[in-house]
Structure formats: structure tokens, C-alpha cells
Symmetry: C2
Subunit: 547 residues, 2 copies
């Protein structure tokens, strides 16, 4: 038997576009003599469809899409994911299902049993868990079909679920496992994914075809990396990351394989490529092409500009250089050199005149009150308003350049530097931004060395440095990581060797700044715990926020 | 037996504060000779604790709180909700539990079985459903304890769940039902709640004590309205809405009751009082007191100013009047009269000079391009920046004044009039804002009549009217209601009698403006479907957004 994995980039709600992509893939598979082509979880409507699932019209369109695709299931079998209505009134109204299409019709359906409802996932919001488990026979091969999370309850010390779908399916003695997934990227996720899938392969002694989707849906970046496992636990093939790919395999060759063809993966190249895909799809799926951002001469905007240029093309990225009286001498020069290195158009727009005009207007009200937060934020808001004026006048979308460290502790101005339609590096800690910049500069100096070596500064008052307000980023980022990614409380973090007063101060800052993060753009997710839909914190919570 | 309902206002994560409130209530109940006092669902940590539940330290503090409260359970029984650890590794790590405390210790625990995971609820994100159902005996009365949603799967045509906890508990022949809840307000929720609870009472022929929490947690407003049902289905007592209240009842009197003491509820008084509580608790729980907002002379900012003044006191509310060259003659006069009616301090700050300074600075870049969206939004952003400058300088929190209709169709400027820490009327459609204004003016003219009668306008270009860009609000709001509250698709809405092209246009506007709503402040929820945590839509979704 020949089996095709179609690792495609779906678009949520674009039924006709998704159908077209799948039809084209079916043609390719047929030309390769394939017997069976496999698409991803919820391929008809794209993943995650979120509350669109509550619309009967939306489900109806997904059904139509399955029916249309079934017409192509002639001389080939098709596996894909799509929502299914729950025929009984009790329970949720939908299932998250795997469909097998053959001979022009739907021949088999297996629902998903394990519904991820944590982090960015909300599946039990919509779906009823499967209440039966069944395999199907196709061309003499008995196939166990599972959907994504269904394979993830194997050998865990603290499993989230009380059942294991593959254990149930094994009662029917299948020959082959196929898993249809929509599994989003995090820089540390691939080894975990391979470990879980291999655990299944070795436990059940069956080959496995694991089909993931690729492409970004706003904040979630799906990396692809679909896998073919031989029954001995070796990886027969691993599909590329961050690219669509259609490949056909002979099941006999997979079964006979003795080699492990795993792609090596390093953190920063992965993050780099993930963010570029995130940017590309944000613009592409919204039907947009042009971006604008402010270039300060600092590392955050520099890295964002590089990523945007690589994602959208230099002709589609423009930047504003907006020095104030507090900008350092080097700032504009560093920003200008970067823009020239990237070949993107830049506009110098000093904000002194606007800033002074604001101060003059505010003076009768502010009187003799000293320079402070209001004046600092004012500069950031003038810049935000300026960028939005260019955005509104000429059409480019403003990119946000905040990093995860400053978003965590609220070191940024709401409606100022926190403006933007998409947060590009909002899931990248400051220390990681430096690593990413080093990776960008590995072959040639794209980002000026001065940008990498000067002490970070918001440049909103004379001689300001981040270090005046915040601990060293090397320390700050470690505390943030333990709190945000690892859910550790103050006692655990202090036992890890950090100063108790500092830990209290940082955790308090994270908690009291939830109101700022509530109003920020969607953040491209590259870590196991990003700000946004995957981290749901009370704004008014009175926990760990005592001064 | 005497039973006390403690309808209290908890604060998420404020363990010591919540414990203190409960201890005081226990003292009051003891003084009234009560045998049993009942608190709300998750009373120790407050509801909803959201992802704080992922912190072991947070659960530990909730446990300590239960232990402390148990010490007060001498000569009185105590019922309350708190999270419990799941002792087995399989399944979620926590239960959402009801505790019975007596003789200084925990004597009984019943977990929640039906975990709401829809709209604003995320309970299956954290909790394992109950796997046993048991009653307990106290002073000769067998009590069936349920938690909130556990009573909501009775007699529904399309139930979300496949089990009914009370059916299970009835096997032990209880004498009394007690339900501990955290049920948020919506203007149409009380009759539904009474219907569901009465259905339980009549089905099981048992009296019911229903204990709700009161108070707002950011966007969610809990209304209280706790209920005591006699076993004949009559309401023996209904506790007040939007107020803490502790009342003690004789079970014999409840059983003997023949009257139905239901409080009558009208939509706009409820919304009015709910928003005031939402404002009060947002400020109170964040430890803040002062608010600022921009007063345009229009109805949205007028209603917001009235509500803020009633919630926070006139000494704590200040407003800016920020006319531009496009402001109508009446605008400032209407705003000034309102401020004087309310007795709040107002500052006149014409933005012409700032606006002209911006235009002069932008002119070399914008050249001869015609006046357009950029210039309109610029005025809104100057106002937003101005309000934030006052906020940063003097400390008041900026209130957002957008209504639900304009938030729905994106008729507002991001970082401009969409600024603010809390959206006060973002869940109130424009037509409902008028009704609310009429209710406010019912006894005396607080909001100037001119504000109520003039055609709505953003006043960002000469002679602009909302009606230039949008259909009549009476039509718009009906379409929005069917789409947002009723999850109806285009065909259903068109069949309800609306123009097909208009419906397509409006639904497209709602969908493509998800990016704006993503960046707005939390919205006080008063309807069954508010923007925010309860409505989770893709930003890039390509559904119903074709031009």
C-alpha cells in the first residue's frame, strides 16, 4: 500500500480554499500511485475554528466540504478531519472527527476522545468525547485512526485523561496507526512529540503515519514536521518544518526500514523560521502585504525589522526613525544602518517639535509638577500615534516590537510602544532576543554590532537604562521563566537560588500588569507558555501582588 | 434546623480577605442561632480564579483557608466551595468541591460533576468531573450538596451533559438540597435561573437553598440573588441583587411556606445597578478610587460619566472636554451641563492647537493626499493620549466609553476612543444605551435632553453622522443581536426579514474587526454574550468576511 501525507496550510473558515488545496493534493497523490492520502485534524474548516463552531451554518459548510471531497475519493482513499454533529441531544453538539472517504462517499468515522482543554486549547468547549472506538479495513490493511491528542495519553506519570484510545483500538488488532493532528509549535515541542509518538509505536508494535498541519493562525504557528515511524520505533521520514509538503510512502518500505531519519533541530533557527511563518501567514491570510514599524536603534525593533523583511520582502517593509531629545547619538545611526542593510525604506521623523507642542499645551494643567511617567509615556504615545497615522494614510500594518520580558513586567507604554496589529517577538525573552540576533548575524552583520552591545534603554529620559528599573535580564528572564513557563510559586523560585525580595517584586509586577497585556496585539507563540489565549489570568486577582 | 445563606463578595486570590469575611459571617450566623451557614462556590479563592489554579502554591493557600475556617465550625456547620487535589494521577489535577465542616474539621466533600466549559466558563481546563455522588447527614437532616452547574441538567431539550447529579444523589433519599454557586449576571439570566431551580424543586420535591456570590471580578458581575425554595416550588425568599447579604432561615418555616416571594426585575434598572457594581469592584479590588473620561456631548460618554459618578462618588470622577474644529456647537455645552449636573470636575481642553501641530508635522509626508481616515483617527488618538497624560500625571484610571454596537462593527479608533482600563458600556448596544439614559433621567434630567435627541456623530469631519457609515441603530442592533447573542448565520438572519446585502456587510464588519476588539479593555458583561473571554473568535478567520 502507498500512503500520502499531505502537510498543508489551511485557513480557518476558508472552506473553498481548503477544499481546493485538498483536491490538488489528491491529484498529486493519484499521480504518484497512492492508495490513501491523509490530511490534518479539522482540515475542512482549519484549526482552531474557535467559536465559529457554534454556528450551524459553519458546520454545514464543513459538511459540504467533506461531501465535495468524497467525490474525489475514486481510486484513492482519503482521511481527513472535520467536525461532526452529535446525533443525540445529550452532551456537546459536536464531535471532532476523523473521516475515511472511499468510492465517492463517507465510509467510516472515528471521533476524537481526548479533548485538549488547557493552554491554548479549548476543545471541550465545543466537542463531546468519542464514546466508541473502532478501526477500519482498507485494501487488506486494518487501520487505527486517531486524532491528535488521542495518542498523547501513553506512559505519562500524571496523565490528564483516564482513558487511552489506542488501547481500545488495539482490541481490533490493527496493522497500522494513522494520526491526524493540528499540533502547534513551541521551540521545545518536537522532541516531546517524537518521544510520545515513538512510545506509541513501541508499545503497540505498529507503524505510524502522523500528519500535522503547517501554517500560522494568528498567534498559533503550526510547524508541520509530520512523521512516518517504522514499527521498530525508527523514524522513516520526517517532513520539513514550516513548509507545505506532500510525500508518498510505500508501507512495505516503512515496515522494512532500519534507519532513523530524524531532522536535527536547534532552538534559534526554529524560532527564527517560526516567526517568519507567523508573519507571512498573518499578512497573507488577512490579505495584506505591507508592514511598518518604528526603529529605535535598539535590539527589539532591529530583530523585528529583520524578521518582517525576510517574511514580507524588503519592498513591503518601511520604518520610521523617531528620535527625541533623549535619544542617544548612536540610536539613529544604528537604525539607519540596519534599514540600509535590509534595503527597506526609512523615514526620519524627529518628534521634538510634536513633543514640545504637547508639553506647551499640557503646561497650564501640569503646571510645575516634575517630569515623570506622564512625560515618558507621552513620547511613546506620540510615536505610536505617528506610526498609526502612517499606517492609516498609506496602508501598512504596524508591527509591535515588545519582547516577552518587558511585556511580563509591564515595562512598556500602553497605546505607545505597545501599539501594533501583531506582536512579533512578544513570546521571546530579552536574553533570547539577543540569541536570535546573534543567529541572524551569524553569516554577515545585518544588525549593527552597536545595537547588540549597548546597554538596553527606553531613552525616554536623560541617560535612562533598563537596568535602572529592572534587574539584569539574565536574572529577570530566569525568574520569569520559572513563574510563567513552569508555574512555580514564590517559594519554589526562591529555593532555586533567587533573592526573595526580588522574586516577590517581579511576580507582583507580572500580576499587576495583566491589564496591559489584556490590551496588546496577538503574540506569535514560540514557547510552551505565551501571553495571550494560552495564559488566562485574572486582572483583579489579589495573589502575589502585595507591595 | 436554622440555615444561613451568606451572599458575600469574594476577591480572587485574596485568601486572607475572603477568610476574614467568612469568619465574620460565621459569627453573625452563630448569633442568630443558626445550625448551618452556606458560602459560595470556590469561596476560599474567589471565582473565577482562572490560571492561578495551575499554581500548587495557590491551591495550598486555599487548603489553609479551609483548615482555618474549620476551626470556626464549632456549634455550627459550614458549607463552602474550594478546590481539592485529585489524589490519583489519572485525570485533571483538581476537583471543584463543596466542603462540609463540623466539629472543627472537614467532615464531608462532594465534588462538582458538571463543569461549564462554554461562554465565559473554562472549568474543564482545570477540574476533573466528580466520580462519586454522596449525601451527608447533619442534625437529623440528610443534605444533597451540589455545586452550581450540577443542578442545571434537568429537563433540557438539548443538555450539555450526559449525567444528572441530583438523580444520583436522590438514591440516598435526602431531605434538603443545597447548591453553592458562582453564577454571573446577564440581564435575562434571573428568570432562567429561577426556572431551572424550580424545575429541580418540583422534580425532587425537596426544599432548596441556592447560594450565589455577589460582586464583580473584572468583566464578570455576580449578582447574588440567592434563593430559598420551599419544596412546593414557591420562593420563600430571594436575596437582594448586587449586595452582600447574610440571612438565616428556619427550615420548618421554609417547608410550611405557601407564598412566592419573588423580586420583580426590569432590564434597565438591572443593567444600571450591575454596571455600577462592576465599576465599584473594578476600582475597589484594584485598590483605586479615581476615574477620568472624555465627555464629548454624546450619549455614550454621558451615560458612562453618570454610572462612574454613581459608583465612585462625584469627588472621584473628572472629565476632559476636548472639542476640535469639527465639534458641533452644542457638544461642549451639553458636556458642560452634564458635568455640572453631576457635580464632577471638568477641564476644557480644545485640541485644535495639537491637531494643527500634528498636521504641520505630517504635511511633508502626507503632502497633498486628501483628508481621510488618518486625520479622523488622529483626532481620536490626540484625545486618547491627552486622557492618558492626565491619567499618568494625576492617577485616575481612564474609562472607556465605547458601546457594543460600535465595538461590533469597528466604528472606533484603536488607541483613540478605544483607550481605557475598563469598558463600561461595551456590552450595551446603542439602542440600549438610549434606554439606559432614559432610565437615568426618569426622575430628573441628569443627561441633557439635547444629548438624547441629536443624531449620533463621531464629529471627526465636517457634518459627520453615524448614519453616513452605518444603518439605523434600530436595524443594526437587531442584526448584531441575532449574530452575536443568538449565533445565527446569514441565512437565518435574512429569513428574519433583513436585507441580504446589509446582513452580509454587517457580519463582515463584525468579523474583520476582531483585531480591534482583541486590544480593548475588559468589558463589563451584562448580556448573555459579551465581547471578551466569553466570545472567542479567530482574528484571521475567513468566514463571512468576503466583500
Amino acid at each position: 500500500m502507498k500512503i500520502t501525507i499531505a502537510q498543508l496550510n489551511y485557513h480557518v473558515g476558508d472552506f473553498s480554499g481548503n477544499l481546493e488545496k485538498m483536491k490538488n493534493a489528491v491529484e498529486i497523490a493519484k499521480n504518484e500511485g497512492s492508495d490513501l492520502i491523509c490530511f490534518a485534524e479539522l482540515a475542512t474548516c482549519g484549526y482552531p475554528p474557535r467559536d465559529f463552531l457554534n454556528f450551524a451554518d459553519f458546520i454545514h459548510k464543513a459538511d459540504e466540504c467533506v461531501q465535495e471531497l468524497a467525490k474525489c475519493a475514486i481510486d484513492i482513499g482519503i482521511l481527513l478531519g472535520s467536525p461532526t454533529r452529535n446525533p443525540v441531544p445529550e452532551g456537546k453538539d459536536l464531535y471532532n472527527s476523523g473521516y475515511f472517504l472511499e468510492n465517492g462517499q463517507i465510509s467510516f468515522i472515528q471521533h476524537k476522545a481526548l479533548l485538549p482543554t488547557y493552554d491554548v486549547f479549548d476543545e471541550y468547549r465545543y466537542f463531546q468525547p468519542a464514546d466508541y472506538f473502532s478501526t477500519f479495513m482498507y485494501k487488506g490493511v486494518r487501520i487505527a485512526l486517531t486524532i491528535c491528542e488521542d495518542m498523547w495519553n501513553v506512559g505519562n506519570e500524571n496523565p490528564l485523561y483516564t482513558i487511552c484510545p489506542m488501547d481500545e483500538l488495539m482490541k481490533e488488532k490493527p496493522d497500522l496507526m494513522i494520526n491526524l493532528s493540528a499540533s502547534p509549535f513551541a521551540y521545545d515541542h518536537a522532541p516531546e512529540r517524537i518521544h510520545v509518538l515513538r512510545t506509541n509505536v513501541l508499545r503497540y508494535q505498529l507503524p505510524l503515519f502522523y500528519v500535522n498541519q503547517v501554517g500560522a493562525q494568528t498567534e498559533l504557528i503550526f510547524d508541520g514536521g509530520s512523521l512516518v515511524f517504522s514499527q521498530n520505533g525508527k523514524i522513516f521520514d520526517e517532513l520539513p518544518f514550516f513548509e507545505t509538503c506532500i510525500r508518498t510512502y510505500s508501507l512495505d518500505e516503512v515496515n522494512a526500514n532500519k534507519e532513523n531519519n530524524e531532522i536535527s533541530k536547534d532552538k534559534y533557527p526554529l524560532i527564527h523560521d517560526a516567526l517568519i511563518l507567523g508573519l507571512k501567514d498573518y499578512f497573507g491570510k488577512l490579505g495584506l502585504s505591507k508592514a511598518i514599524l518604528g526603529l529605535s536603534g535598539g535590539i527589539d525593533s532591529a530583530v523585528t525589522a529583520v524578521l518582517a523583511t525576510r517574511a514580507l520582502g524588503k519592498e513591503n517593509v518601511s520604518v520610521l526613525l523617531m528620535p527625541s531629545e533623549f535619544s542617544s547619538d548612536h540610536s539613529i545611526e544604528d537604525a539607519r544602518i540596519l534599514a540600509e542593510n535590509l534595503g527597506i525604506s526609512y523615514t526620519l521623523f524627529p518628534i521634538n517639535d510634536l513633543y514640545n507642542s504637547w508639553l506647551k499645551n499640557l503646561d497650564p494643567h501640569f503646571k510645575d509638577l516634575p517630569f515623570g511617567l506622564a512625560e515618558e509615556n507621552l513620547q511613546a504615545r506620540i510615536r505610536g500615534t505617528l506610526l498609526m497615522a502612517f499606517s492609516n494614510k498609506f496602508g501598512p500594518i504596524l508591527l509591535n516590537t515588545s519582547n516577552k520580558s518587558e511585556m511580563a513586567v509591564g515595562y512598556g507604554t500602553l497605546y505607545g510602544d505597545m501599539c501594533g496589529g501583531l506582536s512579533v517577538i512578544g513570546d521571546v525573552y530579552k536574553t533570547e532576543v539577543y540569541e536570535l540576533a546573534a543567529y541572524i548575524n551569524k553569516d554577515e552583520v545585518v544588525i549593527p554590532i552597536n545595537t547588540l552591545t549597548k546597554p538596553p534603554s527606553a531613552e525616554l529620559r536623560p541617560n535612562q537604562k533598563d537596568a535602572d528599573s529592572l534587574p539584569d535580564y539574565a536574572v529577570l528572564d530566569k525568574i520569569l521563566y520559572l513563574y510563567i513557563e513552569k508555574n512555580q510559586g514564590p517559594n519554589e523560585i526562591i529555593s532555586a537560588g533567587f533573592d526573595a525580595a526580588l522574586v516577590s517584586r517581579i511576580l507582583r509586577l507580572v500580576n499587576i500588569n495583566e491589564f496591559k497585556r489584556h490590551q496588546t496585539a496577538p503574540v506569535l507563540r514560540i514557547s510552551p507558555k505565551a501571553f495571550g489565549m494560552g495564559r488566562r489570568m485574572p486582572i483583579e486577582g489579589k495573589y502575589l501582588n502585595i507591595k
